[in-house]
């Protein structure tokens, strides 16, 4: 699609179990080479394979779709492997405890669903800029 115009180091990993979300984010987030995953196992495999700089991470993933355990486990696993990775936690849960916990665990930002493509684009760009600053 658009990956031909994008530099290799602008890789973005989208972790979400909703196929529609993944598909539309691929079309909507411009300027990134987008990789997707729908589970913890695939997310970690994709991360190890592509080493993306920014990750958008949904907290409610199978098998704990209605909880947050899988999302936080992935966050830990990714930051363990790439401590500088900018992880934007995207969640439908508005509970402050999840936002606080995400930030305390090292997430770059917490984005509350529903996703508006323009605003998410800004958050992801900020995440990328933040990464570049320290490099």
């Amino acid at each position: 699609m658009r990956s031909a115009n994008v530099a290799n180091n602008l890789k973005l990993l989208i972790v979400d179990d909703d196929e529609g979300i993944r598909t539309q984010l691929k079309w909507g987030l411009e300027g990134f080479d987008i990789i997707t995953a729908d589970s913890r196992q695939k997310a970690i495999e994709q991360f190890e394979k592509h080493r993306p700089v920014v990750v958008t991470l949904d907290l409610g993933l199978p098998p704990d779709v209605e909880g947050t355990s899988e999302g936080f486990a992935i966050l830990d696993a990714i930051l363990q492997r790439g401590p500088d990775t900018r992880v934007v936690v995207v969640s439908g849960s508005e509970e402050a405890v999840n936002s606080q916990k995400a930030k305390a665990s090292g997430a770059f930002d917490f984005y509350a669903k529903p996703i508006q493509i323009e605003s998410l684009q800004k958050v992801v760009s900020l995440a990328y800029a933040s990464y570049l600053e320290i490099k």
Binding site: E19, G28, P63, G67, A73, A77, R81, I115, I117
Partner: protein
């Protein structure tokens, strides 16, 4: 004549034998001596009657001996009853008075009998009947004492003593029958009299059985107070009163017949039937019963209530009610029965800030709606007093000197309303019960009634609160379900809104790209699927679990592999002892449960520890063991917190283990936890095997995943 001689001759011989047996052995206790005397006097009397039957004469002597025999038996029974009580001055005094009274009564009766035999005509109107009434009273007295003795005999002593009570009771019962008949027909029936010797003789073997069973000569132990309940006194009193009533009715019946001329027999029958009818009505009259109870309470006992019995009855009445309405009416009844109140009204505090009428029992329908802060409610809450409306009307100062109190119009104008009993729970007035007037206690309401009602009111309040808490818990669970459902709906709607809004915003740039159109259609289709799922859930059909039979070993391989892929250490190692262990369950849910416990184990361990997952078959169950060598848990945590939803040491919602256990239970299995601090933890899931299970017996390690191999340097 010969029948009489044989009958009483038999009884003479048997009583002599009994008396002699009683005189053998140690004579160290009074009851035994008294039984010996009673037996020998009975033998003397029977012998005299036998002699009289054969040779004639000795009538006066026989009459005197019969009364003396009655005195001996009653004395024996009283001596036995005496052993049931602790030796206190009051008890000793009461028994002495009873003995003296009994002696005077029987000696008086002897003199009267002699006078009648000698042809004395004083008070001709009742000639002969007075002695018969004396005999009847003796028999009733004997039956009443036997009843008392039976009730005071402990369970372990009844095995032997019941034969003694049956024997003596039967003897007095037959005498009652004989003399009632004599009293009614004004002559002693020959057949009944002749049988008397045999009857009395028949009871001797029963007494022999009691002696052979090594009966105790005492009913109570020295240090134990034998409990004389109000119920026993009540029954004894009614029995005694009924007996006396029947004697007088028989007496009356006789004179109605004598003076009724041609209508005599008809008049007597009508009179007797009417009298029995009156007795039945009196017997079943609540009012009469209540008055007898009050009379007994007043004159026989220090305290008005038998608190143990009252308390058991209150608890029984409250506990029997299992429905909302039943419990509320039960609370009214529990309080009403204490003071024989015929009905009541329950008024409860509502969430709207008012006290409103709740249930009623034999009470007129009244719609009560009073604000919480009335003087009545404040008075009940602060002082927790039972308010007697009669007392309040007569002397309001009795109450108002404690604090302001105005009785609302609906209560003061109700003529049935008598008492207001507060229902207080933890110093909070949750309601009150208005009780109707009691026939017996109306003029006899004192501190004892008030205290018992107040305490019972607290107990009733506690029961009502417990029921309301249970109801609130059910509501809370329903709300929790609704909340969960709402959260799920909101989550899905957010996703759908996000998807569709992204389709719209992306379409502005890519609408001419056929690939985007394909993706957009897939996205919309995805949203439609989600909406359909939502509809299913909103209709209350919920998610259908797809229970299928599958190989548990394969599932564990997948779960272990998925957990290993995350890279979290330690890597779990799987040992399947038999590959073909099949269970029937929802595969995804089972997998999630296994993953959750492995993840818990990983959280509780450090990188150098180990996690082992084992699968084996045990009877008709598959047993999955997930063991770690981590920090372990203490017993208190396992007992109090591990299986509690929303309890966690990890800062998460902590619903996992609770859910795992719930699901395992749903499958008909069990989840056990074994843990030791500093040693590790083992979670054991027992899951019923599906019928298609075929197990292989050879144990082998099925899977060592790639991380583990790498770790081992393979």
């Amino acid at each position: 004549m010969y029948v009489e001689a044989i009958s009483f001759g038999v009884s003479t011989i048997l009583f002599i034998i009994l008396g002699l047996i009683m005189l053998t052995g140690r004579q160290d206790n009074l009851p035994k001596t008294m039984l010996a005397i009673a037996s020998l006097v009975s033998a003397a009397w029977s012998g005299t009657v036998t002699y009289q039957a054969v040779f004639g004469g000795l009538l006066s002597f026989a009459l005197l001996l019969e009364l003396f025999r009655s005195l001996a038996w009653l004395a024996f029974l009283l001596v036995m009853l005496r052993t049931a009580y602790n030796s206190t001055d009051q008890v000793n005094k009461n028994f002495k008075i009873t003995f003296v009274g009994l002696g005077i009564f029987i000696v008086g009766l002897m003199m009267l009998a002699l006078y009648r035999v000698s042809g004395g005509s004083f008070f001709e109107f009742i000639a002969g009947n007075d002695v018969l009434v004396g005999h009847l009273l003796i028999s009733i007295g004997g039956i009443v004492i036997v009843e008392q003795l039976y009730r005071n005999t402990s369970e372990d002593q009844r095995w032997a003593l019941k034969y003694l009570w049956i024997a003596v009771g039967a003897m007095f019962a037959y005498d009652f029958y004989l003399y009632s008949d004599a009293f009614l027909f004004q002559r002693i029936d020959n057949e009944l009299w002749n049988a008397r010797g045999f009857i009395h003789g028949m009871v001797v073997p029963l007494i022999g059985v009691a002696i052979k069973r090594e009966m105790q000569w005492t009913l109570g132990e020295e240090t134990i107070d034998i409990f004389l309940s109000r119920r026993i006194v009540f029954h004894t009193t009614t029995l005694l009163a009924s007996g006396i009533y029947l004697i007088f009715i028989g007496f009356g019946g006789y004179y109605v017949r004598e003076m009724g001329g041609g209508w005599g027999v008809v008049a007597q029958s009508t009179f007797l039937f009417a009298a029995l009818l009156v007795l039945a009505v009196l017997f079943f009259s609540m009012k009469i019963r209540a008055r007898i109870k009050v009379m007994i309470d007043k004159h026989f006992f220090h305290y008005k209530y038998d608190y143990r019995e009252e308390w058991l009855r209150i608890i029984r009445t409250l506990s029997l009610q299992d429905t909302d309405k039943g419990l509320h009416i039960g609370a009214i009844r529990a309080l009403a029965q204490i003071i024989d109140s015929p009905g009541g009204l329950l008024v409860m505090e509502r969430d709207n800030g008012y006290f409103e009428s709740d249930e009623r029992w034999n009470f007129e329908r009244i719609n009560v709606r009073e604000p919480v802060n009335t003087t009545l409610h404040r008075f009940l809450a602060e002082h927790q007093f039972v308010i007697s409306l009669d007392e309040y009307n007569e002397d309001p100062d009795m109450y108002t000197r404690l604090g302001p109190l105005d009785i609302p119009e609906w209560l003061s104008s109700n003529k049935d309303a008598w008492l207001v009993v507060p229902l207080v729970l933890q110093e909070h007035l949750m309601g009150y019960i208005v009780l109707s007037r009691s026939a017996s206690h109306e003029r006899y309401f004192n501190w004892e009634d008030s205290d018992l009602l107040k305490t019972a009111g607290r107990q009733a309040a506690s029961h009502l609160a417990q029921y309301e808490s249970a109801q609130a818990l059910v509501s809370a669970k329903r709300f929790e379900e609704v909340n969960r459902l709402s959260a799920f709906i909101v989550h899905d709607i957010k996703n759908m809104v996000g998807q569709l809004s992204m389709v719209v915003s992306n379409a502005a740039k890519h609408k001419k790209n056929p690939m985007f159109i394909d993706d957009a259609i897939i996205t919309v289709e995805n949203s439609v699927n989600k909406m359909n799922k939502l509809l299913v859930r909103l209709r209350g059909e919920g998610e259908v679990e797809k229970d299928v039979a599958f190989s548990l070993c394969e599932l564990l391989e997948e779960s272990v592999s998925a957990c290993s892929a995350t890279g979290t250490l330690p890597i779990p190692v799987l040992h399947c002892r038999a590959e073909q262990i099949m269970i029937t369950a929802d595969k995804d849910r089972m997998s999630a449960n296994i993953a959750h416990i492995i993840q818990n184990a990983q959280d509780a361990t450090n990188n150098t520890d180990s996690i082992t997952v084992r699968l084996r078959k045990q009877n008709s169950y598959a047993v999955i063991e997930i063991a770690d060598t981590g920090e372990g848990m203490d017993e208190k945590f396992i007992h109090d917190k591990l299986f509690q939803p929303f309890e966690s040491t990890k800062g998460t919602m902590g619903i996992g283990v609770f859910q795992v256990r719930e699901y395992v239970h749903k499958l008909g299995g069990q989840l056990d936890v074994e843990s030791e601090e500093g040693v590790g933890t083992i979670f054991r899931l027992h899951i019923p095997l599906s019928s298609s299970t075929q197990s292989a017996n050879n144990a082998h390690i099925v899977n060592l995943n790639k991380h583990e191999k790498r770790k081992r340097g393979e």
